[in-house]
């Protein structure tokens, strides 16, 4: 009686890249159970690509490949494991990270690009911001108004693979690092290398009640590191023109920003 084909051989047959004579020999050995296992592999392929979308995995791999092995734990997370681990690892002072709900936010990187959410940078780099809604998500235009509790998700659209840092600061002057993952000032924050095309971060953020604005800044360049970007953000975060003033960065670093405005607080009625 033929034994079932061991898993590694079944995989090679499934991949279809064996020499023809070897493939024929293996096919001749297939039992009914093997054929069912082969069909199951095809189904599992589809399920895996749905659960772990290619563009998202590719972004995470490129981000990790740009880091030293000792900083692996700070890689952009993917999937349920990554989101949970990252949410547990990060302490954001004023932006509260939340887990994006699959299928609710436009987090499917294979989905259509949404031009109205984009901001043109020097070159064609873009910063994308989406807000979760009860039924789906909406791309936000620059300057959109978002309130405390709104859940936002960030993405970038790059012309070419680039080292990137993303930070934000708010109306209280608090600076938050988004890429690479880590707290502001964390020396382990080696720059992430993000791939060409659209990359959506695996985080959603709930806006807190900081007043006036939240300004996100994407900085790219061949030798970008988080430290100078964070320092530049801190330097202008409390300035009167913090909503508009460019960060002071080393030559050759490119920046693009995205401003979210907070609702104006209604003045309390005067006591009679």
């Amino acid at each position: 009686m033929n034994r079932n084909l061991p898993e590694p051989l079944l995989e090679r047959l499934h991949q279809g890249d064996l020499p023809p004579e070897a493939a024929e020999a293996l096919e001749a050995r297939l039992t009914a159970e093997d054929r069912a296992r082969l069909a199951a592999l095809s189904a599992d392929d589809a399920a895996t690509l749905l659960t772990h979308p290619p563009a998202r995995v590719a972004a995470a791999v490129h981000a990790r490949a740009g880091r030293s092995p000792s900083t692996r734990a700070w890689a952009l997370p993917v999937g349920a494991m990554g989101v949970a681990a990252a949410a547990a690892a990060l302490v954001f002072a004023l932006l509260r990270p939340t887990t994006p709900a699959p299928g609710v936010l436009p987090g499917d990187p294979d989905g259509p690009e949404t031009a109205s959410a984009d901001v043109r940078a020097k070159g064609d780099d873009r910063l994308l911001v989406f807000r979760r809604t009860p039924s789906a998500a909406e791309p936000l235009p620059p300057g959109a108004v978002a309130a405390a509790g709104d859940e936002l998700r960030l993405g970038v659209l790059l012309d070419a693979p680039a080292r990137a840092v993303i930070v934000s600061f708010d109306g209280r002057g608090a600076v938050t690092r988004h890429v690479p993952v880590g707290e502001v000032g964390d020396p382990r924050g080696a720059p992430a290398v993000l791939p060409r095309g659209r990359t959506l971060l695996d985080f959603a953020y709930a806006l807190d009640d900081a007043p006036a604005f939240e300004r996100f800044v994407l900085v790219t360049g061949p030798d970008v590191t988080p430290g100078p970007v964070e320092a530049a953000a801190r330097a202008i975060a409390v300035a009167p023109d913090a909503e508009t003033r460019p960060l002071t960065l080393p030559a050759g670093w490119r920046q693009v920003d995205f401003l979210i405005r907070k609702p104006r607080l209604e003045p309390k009625p005067a006591r009679p």
Partner: protein, 179 residues
């Protein structure tokens, strides 16, 4: 769409920087391999990513083997490293099945070598051939492939597989007799 038992897919992507195309084609296979060896979903997803990270970092050093063969072995090696790290925790050792113990023994071959660095010949042997040999050992001892089947999956000759495994066995026996 009804899956076909003998796929004839599009030409294989070969550019190690084109992670998206490589993952789309081979990612599910890599993840299945990691799941089978690690039996922990989070660890498997992480190991799957690590396998592609190593592929990217290998750059143009990819050889001419079929990408599926290369990635399958890279995934195996990645998982062995995870198992080796995992086994340093006593609670993980206590929960091991026989199959786990066999994998761990293969995975720890490198640690044995490192413990006897003064044993220069073996040290050199491990340094040169260990990674590949360990993944061959998993195919043969864990997955139950014959030497001929290991050769088919790995792209090596049967005699090459036999020699490597014999050398690994001899080295392990020798090292264990010293411990």
């Amino acid at each position: 769409m009804t899956p076909s038992p003998t796929n004839t897919p599009n030409p294989a992507p070969r550019d190690p920087q084109d992670v998206e195309a490589l993952y789309r084609r081979y990612g599910p296979m890599v993840l299945r391999r990691c799941r089978a060896l690690l039996r922990n979903e989070d660890d498997a997803v992480d190991a799957m990513q690590t396998t592609f990270v190593r592929l990217v970092q290998a750059g143009d050093r990819l050889d001419d083997r079929a990408p599926s063969s290369l990635l399958y072995q890279m995934a195996t090696r990645t998982c062995l490293n995870v198992l080796r790290t995992r086994r340093r925790h006593p609670e993980a050792r206590a929960a091991e099945t026989d199959a786990d113990a066999l994998l761990s023994r293969i995975a720890e071959a490198g640690d044995l070598g490192a413990r006897f660095v003064a044993f220069r010949v073996l040290d050199r042997l491990f340094r040169d051939t260990l990674d590949d040999t360990r993944s061959l050992a998993v195919l043969h001892l864990h997955d139950g492939l014959t030497l001929e089947e290991v050769a088919l999956v790995s792209g090596l000759s049967v005699s090459g597989v036999r020699k490597r495994l014999a050398r690994l066995r001899a080295s392990l026996h020798e090292l264990e007799s010293l411990s």
